[in-house]
């Protein structure tokens, strides 16, 4: 799951896979706009066949936060 997520993420940032850690912040470190982030979530939904609620995006600041969310949605915590 983590590898696939990082592959998708690589299309949204100039950071290399090695530079992305669980504490990497989407806005501050990757310079993703709010809409980049929402589009990323849409792509993750399609890839993992899951559905996010609008409220799921609240409180997701880091790669670790996102992985935990995907884990909860896919039942792979």
């Amino acid at each position: 799951m983590e590898t696939k997520f990082k592959e998708i993420l690589a299309q949204y940032t100039t950071l290399s896979a090695d530079e992305i850690t669980e504490s990497t912040r989407f806005r501050d470190d990757m310079a993703l706009s709010s809409l980049d982030f929402m589009t990323l979530l849409g792509e993750v939904e399609d890839e993992f066949d899951i559905e996010f609620e609008e409220s799921d995006a609240v409180g997701i600041f880091t790669v670790g936060d996102a992985l935990a969310l995907i884990g909860r949605k896919t039942g792979n915590e």
């Binding site: 706009s33 709010s34 809409l35 980049d36 929402m38 589009t39 979530l41 849409g42 939904e45 609008e54």
Partner: protein, 505 residues
Amino acid sequence: MSELIRKVMERSCSEFAEIPAVRWLEKKDIRERSYKELGENITLIRKGLLSEGFGGSRIAFVGGSSVWWVESYLGAVTGNMTAVPLDAGMPAEELAELINRSDCTGLFIDEAKKDLIPEFSAKCPALKKVWLLNGEAGNAETLAVLMDNGRAYDGDAGSSPDDTAMIIFTSGTTGKSKGAMLSQNNLAANLEAMSFASKPGVVLLNVLPIHHAFCLVMDWLRGFDKGAVICVNDNMMHLVRNMGIFRPHAMLMVPLMIETILKRIDAVKEPVSKPEAAQMIFGGRLRYIFTGGAHLDDYYLERFREFDIKILEGYGMSECSPVISANTPVAYKYGSVGKPLPNMEVKIAENGEILVRGSSVMKEYYNMPAETAAAIVDGWLHTGDKGYIDEDGYIFINGRIKNLIILSNGENVSPEEIENKLGVNDLIGEVVIVGENNGLTAVVYPDPDAVKAGSLDEEGIRNGIQAFLDEYNKTQPTYRHIVGLRLRETPFEKTASRKIKRDRV
């Protein structure tokens, strides 16, 4: 000329009766409403509101774009009621304040927000009734009941051209948002002035927030005026997916969306060419993107030409219902925001500020006579933007006079409003909010006493303030998130009256 939104809608619902007016997704199924059905539902909601004694009232709307939102909105404004569309993403406390400040006695609310009903009932004493736009809740009436009441009612009051059709709240530079009162004629005149041709049945995809004047008037009202099929993007997460599903011919977007989609096109790898990627992403039929709300760099206009998509930039503000000028398919100049609409006069003041007057300029700010007097002087609305008009009559914008941050998603943010909220934290001595990299950054001078009391080093200060900002962000709509933090070692430079010199930050 139609001076009433009701006349516009009655003509469209009759002339385009069999064409789909709205399409939306329920799970993976596409649903649609014809113009005939739309007209019937609007009438029933209007009569329902009148039957329940809401004639002449102000009615708030809290929810995202949906067929039920727009039918209820039109139920109100085709009668003699004033609609007050609010940003559903705002904290409940701020929504309650706006419901109170606009003296709303009724509220339409989305099922997703129904948990807020008890808070509104407690904090908004004038609120008499809440209707649920979809679904059911014990403490609100359903649309089905409202429409049944309308079916049994004989009266059908309408409005006059000067009656206020809606109040749109805009960011104020003093930190208090102002309610621009737009009359029936203000809105109808703006629709009429956007006269360039469009065939009935043209497909639009609505992606902007419906409480914004640009979206509400130019996507929905103008779309209905021209017999368009308006498709609802259910969530910004699904923008790319939904463009493929609904295959729009034209879209209204803010610059941030155009910038974001281009990044997705550029991320598609060989052997797929960029124009092929664009066709895939846009659904293969998109020819026009209308944009406004913030400046879009010419680079994007050039890039989209490669995909055979013309981006037409316009200029407006809520106070002008909202369009002041626009490039059109037949009259456009890159870098400009187009020529003034036929019903608008534009001139440049000595200090470079753009001044506007015409039939789309608002009546006033609701219950704010001093702010109205400052904004409309001798009949001319002061836009707060600086610009010039070239020899061919095209307007170019080149700066701002008022202190608002314009983000590329078109949202106007009042820095003072946010600074007042952040200032309550003990660690924050002084703070200035600036717009950087498409988002908001807090520049903070930490409070020396709090730093000393906590024996904090720079990392400790940063962590303490960042934790506070993360909590603040959770309570705010995305566009008001603070995404950057800069610390400074010295207090901000001040004027003689102890105001921070923002241009020196």
